[in-house]
């Protein structure tokens, strides 16, 4: 199948103005226009998005499972990295 399969594209959708683009899934397509159309039909046909990005999956650089320890574990045990020791002044509205 692999030689008859079109390239894979990652799809990102923006739900509303000012919101971040979020990964929605992926589609197969022969080219960028096809990828955009397929993304629209698969991930935005029920009004889920106001903008779309499609990116060739090969262009995504991902961390490897083996990176998990060195990359992410040190973040957990250094509480001083988290800015949670400050009292919020009364005048500041929490929102």
């Amino acid at each position: 199948m692999s030689d008859s399969q079109w390239p894979l594209w990652e799809v990102f959708t923006q739900g509303d103005h000012g919101e971040p683009f979020e990964h929605a899934g992926s589609v197969h397509a022969a080219d960028a226009e096809g990828a955009l159309q397929n993304a629209r039909d698969v991930y935005a046909r029920r009004g889920e998005a106001i903008n779309l990005w499609v990116v060739p999956s090969t262009a995504i650089v991902a961390s490897a499972p083996g990176d998990a320890g060195p990359f992410f574990d040190p973040g957990n045990d250094k509480a001083y990295r988290h800015p949670q020791f400050y009292k919020v002044p009364k005048g500041v509205k929490v929102f």
Binding site: W6, V27, H28, A29, A30, E33, G34, Q37, N38, R40, D41, V42, R45
Partner: protein, 264 residues
Amino acid sequence: MAPASPAAPRTPAVENPLFEYVVRLGDDRLVLGHRVAEWCGHGPILEEDIALSNIALDLTGQAAALLALAGSIEGKGRDEDALAYFRDEPQFRNALLCELPKGDFGVTIVRQFFFDAYSLLLWDALAACTHEKLAALAAKSRKEDTYHLRHSAEWVRKLGDGTPESHERAQRAVDALWRFTGELFERDAIDDAVVSHGIVVDHAALAAKWRELVEGVLREATLTVPAEPGPRATGGRRGRHTEHLGHMLAEMQIVARSHPGATW
């Protein structure tokens, strides 16, 4: 010689030309929507399967709105379901192009492209007409059809300018369907009668724009525009259909007719 040269076929006088006119618009989309829906579960790839089903649903939605409008114009208590499911073949007013079998993917795409180009140009004209309800429907539908045309035109380019097999199949579809396109631009007594309701469409201008648009895409797709249109296929607007419509309607209407009034 343009396949699209408007002529004035003789149409028997009808009681309510506006009803007849809106039914024609609705039937084109109902019948084509059903044909496109036949791809559901059979598309060449998952993404295109979904794309075709989306287009089918858009067309069916347009048909429902148009037939509901037609029913209210008629004023005899028929709603969109009554018109869709409880009329027989001779009462259908769709162009023959819409009822032809879905064929291979090339036929489906080329037919869709021919229709999308026509439909979008027609909605442009109708959105400017003074019949308020129809103008509103036109404005809404033209957004959908703008996408349909983008989709089908892109596929025509890909198939025509693709592999030898996709090129040959696309060209075969163009050659086979070409003589069905003239009917889309025919002008008859119904078109003349609805002018008094604010519905004014310049068929000759529509045909010329369609040709320019279609020929441009066919050239980009390295496809050949047929030199001779051949005998124009016509009759759908007056209820004279190909042998294919009856079979399609049997399938489309059986559930509604077997369980009249059923809800779910």
